[in-house]
């Protein structure tokens, strides 16, 4: 019933996959910095003082659900169901936007408390790691909008499906990275 229109080993998708690997390595450097610097609070606010774990959990659940709805969107694409695809991608977009909104609110709250990235090495590495992820989310959201236009305006040829799939892959990997941000930043940062 479901003929695989998308093959992850296709040249274009494999190329994008390799690019995603390099993006993971950029995050690895940011993770290494966070772990090395998380204790360098320079008598400023610490993770335990700042982090509000229920907020982090809410972000995580929004993003996880958006990854799920994204695969529902790809399922619709594989069945050539344009309308359902757009519906699911809109839901994904809203969930991703909600994630971003919570994250920006968290950042504003920290800034209001004087816990800015200028305060200590710990805060610099926190804002950079989480902020870089947020920047990727923003790019993903923009990409999603562009793809929704493609779904609406162009036929779902193999070429189109390949492009939409790459966007979905990007989105899935964002949640993949977030698992580790949640665990390392909020988890280990809070526990230690």
């Amino acid at each position: 019933m479901d003929k695989p229109m998308i093959n992850v080993s296709d040249t274009k998708i494999f190329g994008f996959w390799v690019y995603l690997m390099t993006d993971l390595i950029i995050f690895a450097v940011l993770f290494a910095c966070f772990i090395v610097l998380h204790g360098n609070t320079f008598n400023g606010p610490t993770a335990k003082e700042l982090f509000h774990l229920p907020t982090a959990l809410a972000e995580t659940l929004f993003l996880l659900t958006s990854s799920f709805t994204c695969s529902l969107g790809m399922l619709a694409i594989s069945r050539q169901q344009k309308k359902w695809a757009i519906v699911w991608f809109i839901v994904t977009f809203l969930l991703g936007a909600a994630f971003l909104y919570i994250e920006i609110s968290e950042f504003s709250e920290f800034l209001a408390k004087g816990a800015s990235w200028k305060r200590s090495a710990f805060l610099s590495s926190f804002f950079t790691l989480v902020g870089t992820h947020g920047l990727h989310i923003s790019i993903g959201l923009l990409w999603m909008v562009v793809m929704m236009f493609r779904i609406a305006l162009r036929p779902l040829t193999e070429h189109s499906v390949s492009r939409i799939f790459r966007m979905a892959l990007f989105w899935h990997f964002l949640d993949f990275v977030w698992i580790f941000i949640f665990t390392t930043v909020y988890g280990i940062g809070y526990l230690l």
């Binding site: 990854s67 799920f68 529902l72």
Partner: protein
């Protein structure tokens, strides 16, 4: 692996459970009589498990022959990431100690 609804749902529910489990350990480590070190190992293992679940059920990459290079590049990247993170911690730890 073809696109199947059952795969996505399984992945979603499993990830949800793993996330909630990790959250619970973070906020209440004493519930499991975990000291900090064990708690960290526990949540990290949960994170690794969830990342594998997402790789298989959302990203749909696993032991199929056509995924050989994707998996290969992924494993090599994972090794590089391990080297970057582990060795940075080891090296900086020693440097911090000696250069304090």
């Amino acid at each position: 692996m073809h696109y199947k609804l059952s795969l996505s749902i399984t992945g979603f529910v499993t990830s949800l459970l793993l996330t909630l489990a990790a959250y619970f350990i973070i906020v209440r480590p004493e519930f499991f009589h975990f000291d900090i070190k064990i708690a960290i190992i526990a949540i990290f293992s949960l994170a690794l498990a969830q990342s594998l679940v997402q790789l298989i059920f959302f990203i749909n990459v696993w032991k199929e022959k056509r995924h050989f290079w994707n998996l290969g590049v992924f494993i090599s990247t994972a090794s590089i990431i391990f080297i970057i993170v582990f060795f940075s911690i080891w090296i900086i730890d020693h440097l911090n100690y000696n250069m304090r």
